[in-house]
Amino acid sequence: MTRDAVWSSPAAIDVENRLFRVLAVLRVVVLVNAVALNLYRADNFSHPAALAACIGAMAAWTGVAIWGYAVPRRRTLLLLAADLAVTAALLLATPLVKGPDFNTSVPGFWTMGALLAWAVHYRWAGGLLAGVVLATVDLVVRDDISQTVYGNAFLLMIGGPIVGFMSASVQRMATERDLAERSAAIAAERARLARVVHDGVLQVLALVQRRGRELGGEVTELGRLAGEQERELRSLIREEAAVVSPGHDQALDLVAELGKLERSESVTVAAPATPVEMPATTVGELVRVVRACLDNVAMHVGHDEPAWVLLEAFPDRLELTVRDEGPGIPPGRLEEASTHGRLGVALSIRGRIADLGGSAKLATGSFGTEWEFVVPRRGREVSA
């Protein structure tokens, strides 16, 4: 998004409108304040008629400014320049009205109306420009510069840019929030549409798979391919559906990740319906462990032999089971692997689980092979 687009976005204009509404109230307050002060010190003035004219001009301009700034399209350079010029003119008129030796200018705090209008509309640069102009005029009209006068000028100079900067920040934030809200709504709608489309595709893939198996021959291969695609798409959907809570950008849903290992012909994954969030590195390790177990099944039992993965989530720990119905691991094979200097799959599986602070249990025999892993859930104990 370009700079100009930020300031002309509906959200930014909305912010500006709100600021100008507040400014309108402020203008009335400072006008009342200026009028009251001037009337209170009316005896200081050398030219009461001129004072009355000045007050009249201030009141009139306040009305014009409130009307002018109320609508975005009237906030032109002309209006802002006129605003600044009227304010400067009133400052310049002060020595003529009050005599050369005065303390407070006729407009006084009323000058902030023009300053803030510039800051709101032209941001920090506008605030700075208006501040410089007003401070210069204020200093020029005075014979001697007291500390108070210098202080006021200094405040004008820094107040303008600060308000301008903040106005810009709020406008930018509003624009960004608007954009974020819109893209969230688009994403939600896209997800809804995708679910509908995906479901249709899944139906067809499942049907092709089923018919392929029944018809046999070449079509079986077609059915197998459809089955593979069905699994891919299903795990993709599950991944999309898993909502990872904000603030945990390094958390992953173990249920979704394990779901990707599912093979409709061989591997079944059973897990809770709700996401099980764990740090991404832990999830990665656990998935690698399960994959290693499944690879073992494919290698030693058979490529399309069934295997089951079960994930159970407890408040303090996870239990993960991988089971097959193969002939089991022959006694001594694991030891043999390690004495031959090979790390061995079993050892690397145990190592990974131990690194996660968990324990691994292996049951093997004629009934098959069953790995059971227990891994602690760190950080959960605190909240439980």
Binding site: R195, H198, D199, G200, L202, Q203, V204, L205, A206, L207, Q209, R210, R211, R213, E214, G227, E230, R234, I237, R238, A241, V255, S264, T268, V269, A270, A271, P272, A273, T274, P306, A307, W308, L310, L311, E312, A313, F314, P315, T321, R323, E370
Partner: protein, 223 residues
């Protein structure tokens, strides 16, 4: 109902919004000797036709035009507690499957299941058995764990599985057949089936109690 227990007489309604699937399932079931008494393409058709044809088994797709599979399941079971709802789902979205089972469905199959599996599942649910896949057992286990952790309500109000039921359910979730479980635990096949059925019963009972409590708390019971 004489003779209704034989396969030929099992009356089935098929609810699926994909005509292709509906036809395929209908044909398969007819070939297997079932009587397909009605088909429906969406939830409202299903609920309109159900009271008229009173099928023993409803084969229901979860992703159908509103009312969805979960609501349809709840309404069918409310109207006729002897009707068996078998969920046949393509996308297998966990929350939906669990929702349907809590609402009263007694079985769940993914659509890629073979024709033999489907026919067998319908026979079993018609007999009063439950058809659990390993995946569904994992979901139900997770749900009981979640309920026992929930801090909101007193522990005693939550249904709990006995140790045996948990053990059996875990074995189902690990892909063991009822026969294998029976052998492992040295009990009868029927006992295993009963344990599995009990877990589902507790879940559905809990769901009904929750709904009733919600209704009372919100004054929905006063018509």
């Amino acid at each position: 109902m004489s003779g209704a227990q034989s396969a030929e007489a099992i009356r089935v309604m098929v609810v699926d919004d994909h005509p292709m699937w509906r036809d395929a399932v209908e044909r398969d079931l007819a070939n297997a000797g079932f009587e397909v008494v009605a088909v429906a393409a969406n939830g409202s058709e299903a609920l309109a036709r159900f009271p008229a044809v009173r099928p023993q088994v409803v084969v229901l797709d979860l992703q159908i035009p509103a009312p969805g599979g979960v609501e349809v399941t709840a309404e069918i079971v409310r109207q006729d507690s002897s009707a068996r709802v078998l969920i046949l789902s393509a996308s297998g979205e966990h929350a939906d499957v669990l929702g349907a089972v809590k609402a009263g469905a007694v079985g769940y199959l993914v659509k890629s299941a073979s024709r033999e599996e489907l026919v067998d599942a319908i026979r079993r649910v018609a007999r009063g058995d439950t058809v659990f896949t390993a995946g569904l057992a994992g979901l139900v286990l997770g749900e009981f764990r979640r309920m026992s952790e929930a801090p909101s309500s007193p522990r005693s109000a939550e249904p709990q599985l006995t140790d045996r039921e948990t053990e059996v359910l875990r074995m189902v979730a690990k892909g063991m057949t009822y026969k294998q479980i029976a052998q492992r635990l040295v009990v009868s096949h029927r006992t295993v089936q009963n344990h599995v059925q009990n877990t589902l019963g507790k879940l559905q009972m809990h769901n009904r109690v929750q709904l009733a409590r919600y209704a009372i708390e919100h004054g929905l019971d006063e018509e």
